[in-house]
């Protein structure tokens, strides 16, 4: 292994510029002649827009233009789209109400866009935006997910606020087993709504060149080509060769920057209308109001078991909040990214899921780190824990008893997915050892002497990453293919650029992808650069989400590297006066097998660009592109074990131990992967203990609209994490990799709630486990807890 190759903990190349303020984010960019946009947003959750009077605002200093929903309609812009069609239980497509770029008849959530003011400066735009006089007729707001189907109608074309009523599996068969089973565990739970809070707010600059007819959209997108496709084909009716989307350094996304939002459309569209670049950067308040939120499920589940605790059937009924409009991939999150994961790590033979997606007067809800898989894992790992307690069985043994065994792979679950590889018992054993699970009782007793309630919780998670292949996702309703592209461009003097369709907004592609090429082509690590995020530079690509970059994008890079190697062999054979079949390639050297006749890949690259002595019939240049469509999802899995201590007098929960054993297949860079686990666990701890998006149920105002009320996890909320790995390589991609970005956020919440409920001696409490909630239970259960 080279010190920079696959398996090496290479420090991130990108950190130097990020940490010294030399990154280039959208807000750092300023275009000649640039104007600034400010959005007039609805202060009401639900209202009819009776009139928008812009006359006073137009007279304000610096105002260039003001556009409203009528202007959007007049220009026949398409609305924002949802790119995944989910068919309900009757085979009908989901209800897809219009999602206008700027509202004109109604506003449907606090923060909905009503108008845009474009002015010379940002301050002038904001000042003038306050002068836009909107006459609202306030309507009753429909906020509560559980009651949404009975609430005020959000869209006239979605009766009962139902987007779809979707099913997977055989309800009658599952009900039959539940009826006759030895034991059935039932649980009602809420998966709390979250606000993503990437460190960099969304931003956009739209630009139009009236000479060439070219648009440029600078955006904080996780997937610039997908954004270009939506902007061109669905909204603006512009051919794709006339639209360039640039997504430069981006400071985190967690899913919230996958989607096409109104603001980037408006900036791009308005740039042509005023013939000047138009810039907008969200402030944090706008981010809270208008970034797509995550999770927000209300679920009832039932698990049937025989007397040995063998799982016989699982039934899950979920109401999923879509918010006021469908965001770009909202519909697939609580269906194909959720219900298909409900087998977890277990051999449950039959599963039925029903998901009712509902509209409410809240911000749109879409994929957020884990997207559906945290919700599925939370249901499974909560109900399994409760089942163990009800059956008076060790929760670890109950899990082990139901695990899919290593010799059962590939394993066809009853919920469509076929798991390719895994060894769940091995990960469990490693986690039990690392966490000193067997020593817990003595730690608990020691904590009790200090007046603390100590609990332990296990979470056995699985996720499906690298969502693919395209034909399968297409059959499930995806409006896109989910392959990835890569181009490897060797330069004449032997340096190399990797042009990837993936996009890095914190995932460290610049380091990891360079390691892959360094390993495969033997080019010095420091001579390799990763280029991403510009539709004019890189081949069409699908972007980064669903922990897909290394599994799909990395595999495309390997395929492109293979093409480079093959072409190079022809050139080397010519230069070394040997047969192509006799040329071997290893460590950056072409060699005539069994001899000391060698050409380096740098020499071959030079020959390819200066082909004075060159094989006949071979094209000059050494620059290869590959598109990779995987054969299957990848299935990272693992065990996380959490130990908490609760102060019963205040209800404060402190996480005192954390053990993570993850199987990500082959690991390219252990340092980066550990960092991804840390970040994911931090977000999972945030969800379980601290974060919860709260709207006022009557007014629909966002109560948690700032960091004074929305509680983000901080360093001192986190324990020191013990992270380990097992490795069952993915059998169907060339790197054997599975993906690691979302694992922590998926695994953590049930581990924490299992630990807290263990400490408190209760079956359940809903997230976030705030001090007051925990305190109330601790008060009620004090005698019982003490008796244990």
């Amino acid at each position: 292994m080279s010190e920079k190759g696959i398996g090496s903990s290479v420090r991130r190349s990108e950190d130097q510029r990020f940490l010294t303020g030399k990154g280039h984010y959208v807000d750092d960019m300023n275009r000649p002649g640039q104007a600034h946009a400010a959005f007039v947003r609805s202060p009401h959750a639900h209202a009819r827009v009776k009139m928008v009077d812009t006359s006073a605002a137009r007279k304000a200093p610096g105002v260039i233009a003001i556009f409203t929903g009528s202007d959007v309609a007049a220009d026949k812009l398409g609305g924002l789209i949802c790119g995944w069609t989910v068919k309900d239980k009757n085979g009908d497509p989901h209800k897809a109400p219009a999602h206008p770029i700027l509202a004109y008849d109604k506003v449907r959530y606090v923060g909905d866009h009503v108008a845009v003011v474009i002015a010379e400066t940002q301050a002038q735009a904001r000042d003038a935006a306050e002068k836009v006089d909107v006459d609202y007729e306030v309507l009753p707001a429909n906020i509560d997910t559980a009651k949404a189907m009975k609430g005020a109608v959000v869209h006239d074309d979605a009766p009962g606020n139902l987007c779809y009523d979707w099913e997977l599996g055989d309800r009658a068969a599952v009900d039959g087993i539940i009826k006759s089973a030895h034991h059935v565990t039932r649980i009602d739970l809420v998966n709390n709504r979250l606000i993503p809070n990437a460190i960099e707010p969304r931003a956009a600059i739209g630009e139009y060149d009236s000479g060439s007819g070219h648009y440029t959209c600078y955006s904080t997108s996780q997937n610039p080509h997908v954004l270009r496709l939506i902007l061109c084909a669905f909204i603006m009716g512009v051919p794709e060769h006339k639209m360039r989307v640039i997504s430069p350094d981006v400071g985190g996304g967690f899913g919230s920057k996958i989607f096409c939002y109104a603001e980037e459309v408006v900036c791009t569209w308005a740039a042509k209308k005023i013939d000047r670049p138009v810039k907008w950067t969200a402030d944090r308040s706008e981010s809270f109001l208008s970034d797509a939120h995550g999770r927000d499920h209300v679920t009832h589940a039932e698990l049937a078991m025989d007397k040995e605790g063998k799982f016989l059937a699982l039934k899950v009924e979920t109401i999923a909040n879509m918010g006021a409009y469908l965001s770009t991939f909202a519909t697939c999150v609580p269906t194909y990214l959720y219900a298909t994961l409900l087998a977890g790590q277990y051999t449950t033979p039959i599963i039925f899921a029903n998901v009712k997606a509902v509209f409410t007067n809240t911000a749109p809800v879409d994929a957020y780190r884990g997207a559906g898989r945290p919700e599925a894992t939370y249901v499974i790992e909560r109900i399994v824990e409760c089942a163990a307690r009800e059956m008076k069985m060790d929760p670890v043994e109950l899990r082990r008893r139901n695990f899919i065994k290593p010799d059962q792979f590939p394993y066809q679950t009853p919920v469509a997915l076929q798991y390719d590889s895994g060894n769940y018992g091995q990960a469990l054993d490693a986690a039990l050892k690392m966490s000193d699970y067997s020593g817990f009782k003595s730690r608990q007793a020691e904590a009790a002497k200090r007046g603390k309630l100590r609990g332990i919780g296990v979470s056995a998670y699985i996720e499906a990453c690298g969502i693919a292949p395209s034909a399968v996702v297409g059959s499930l309703g995806a409006g896109v293919g989910l392959w990835e592209s890569a181009q490897i461009r060797l330069n004449p003097t032997g340096s190399c650029q990797i042009l990837t369709g993936s996009h890095s907004h914190g995932q460290s592609h610049e380091t990891t992808f360079a390691q892959v090429v360094h390993e495969h082509l033997g080019i010095p690590y420091d001579s390799i650069e990763v280029v991403h995020g510009d539709t004019a530079l890189v081949p069409f690509g699908m972007g980064t989400y669903g922990s897909r970059s290394i599994a799909v994008g990395g595999s495309a890079i390997v395929r492109a590297a293979d093409k480079i190697i093959e072409k190079g062999k022809k050139i080397a054979a010519h230069l070394l006066e040997a047969s192509v079949d006799d040329i071997t390639f290893k460590g950056g050297e072409y060699r005539v097998a069994g001899t000391d006749k060698v050409k380096t890949i740098g020499e071959i690259a030079f020959a390819a660009y200066v082909p004075h002595n060159y094989p006949a019939g071979v094209e000059p240049g050494l620059d290869e592109t590959a598109f990779y469509d995987p054969a299957n999802f990848t299935y990272p899995a693992g065990i996380h074990i959490c130990e908490v201590e609760i102060d019963p007098d205040t209800g404060r929960t402190v996480i005192v131990n954390w053990t993570a054993i993850d199987d990500f297949g082959k690991v390219i860079n252990p340092l980066i992967v550990e960092g991804q686990v840390h970040g994911g666990v931090a977000q999972g701890i945030g969800q379980a203990l601290l974060e919860g998006c709260v709207y006022d149920n009557d007014s629909g105002q966002l109560v948690t609209g700032s960091y004074m009320d929305y509680c983000m996890p901080r360093a001192d909320d986190l324990p020191s994490l013990k992270v380990g790995m097992t490795e069952t390589p993915c059998p169907h991609n060339p790197l054997g990799v599975k993906g690691c970005g979302e694992a922590g956020a998926i695994a953590a919440p049930p581990a924490i709630i299992n630990a807290i409920t263990d400490a408190l001696g209760v079956m359940h409490l809903d997230m976030p486990a705030t001090p007051e909630k925990v305190w109330r239970i601790a008060q009620q259960n004090r005698p019982a807890a003490a008796a244990e």
């Binding site: 308040s285 007098d649 601290l690 004074m708 009320d709």
Partner: protein, 264 residues
């Protein structure tokens, strides 16, 4: 943020003049509350009078009888002050627990007291120690200073110049931090002084308040057990998504007990 006139006087007298000159003039101390509200367009002062260049407002003076802390002294300076730690350690530890490092390096004791946020920490120390607020016009007893939520005895144009803390026999401040803002969800300052025991609770109600029943019990028996069964009524306390009035009332007792136990 809306436009405003900016003043940076070099003396309290000039600051006072500048404050009188603007229609909606406001003093700027550390700016930890007013600047965020201005950025969010929730506050629109005509003038900001920046007190940061007034030397007479800064500094810590310790004597055998107590501390005098200049109004523009930053929380971090109080937290790290050898004099404060030696004279009233509870004040140093309170300052060290305010907000986060950025806030502690900007925020000031005078700014905190003049704003009188119901969840601020310093009001607990002022009321708990029976401190005296010095202004450019007079001296105000701590017991008379806090008038209600964001309300104080300060008159328009009146500027806090310093806070005088008498040295107690022993004292401690213990808070349950608000999980998001790290303000005090409920904090209790307990002091045993020459003039009796004082117990002040901040964060729990709309304004810092003394807990007379606890003071009486502690005067007889200065121990955590003495107040274990004393509950403040929940009526009138703050209630929000982070803690109900009932929870805050309960926390007053818990924090008070812990403060008594921590007194030194």
């Amino acid at each position: 943020m809306y436009n405003f006139n900016y003043h940076r006087p070099g003396s309290v007298a000039d600051a006072s003049k500048a404050l009188a000159g603007g229609a909606e003039a406001r003093p700027l101390a550390g700016g930890m509350t007013i600047l965020p509200t201005m950025k969010q367009r929730l506050s629109q002062p005509s003038d900001l009078v920046d007190l940061s260049q007034i030397a007479e407002l800064r500094g810590i003076k310790a004597s055998g009888s107590g501390l005098v802390i200049g109004a523009m002294t930053r929380h971090a300076d109080v937290a790290h002050s050898v004099e404060v730690k030696a004279t009233i350690a509870a004040v140093a530890s309170l300052a060290e627990g305010i907000g986060d490092p950025q806030v502690r390096n900007r925020g000031t004791i005078g700014g905190s007291l003049a704003n009188n946020d119901p969840a601020a920490d310093y009001p607990g120390a002022v009321l708990g120690l029976g401190a005296t607020i010095h202004t450019n016009k007079r001296k105000i007893a701590g017991d008379d200073f806090f008038k209600g939520m964001f309300e104080t005895a300060l008159e328009p144009g009146e500027i806090i110049t310093a806070v005088e803390f008498p040295k107690p026999e022993k004292a401690a401040y213990v808070k349950f931090p608000h999980p998001a803002s790290r303000f005090s969800l409920t904090g209790v300052f307990v002091a045993k002084t020459a003039n009796g025991v004082r117990v002040a609770a901040t964060g729990a109600g709309p304004c810092v308040f003394r807990v007379k029943a606890m003071e009486d019990a502690l005067a007889k028996n200065f121990s955590a057990d003495a107040i274990a069964n004393i509950k403040v009524p929940a009526t009138g306390l703050n209630s929000d998504i982070h803690g109900s009035a009932e929870y805050r009332a309960h926390l007053v007792t818990v924090m008070a007990k812990r403060a008594v136990a921590a007194c030194r």
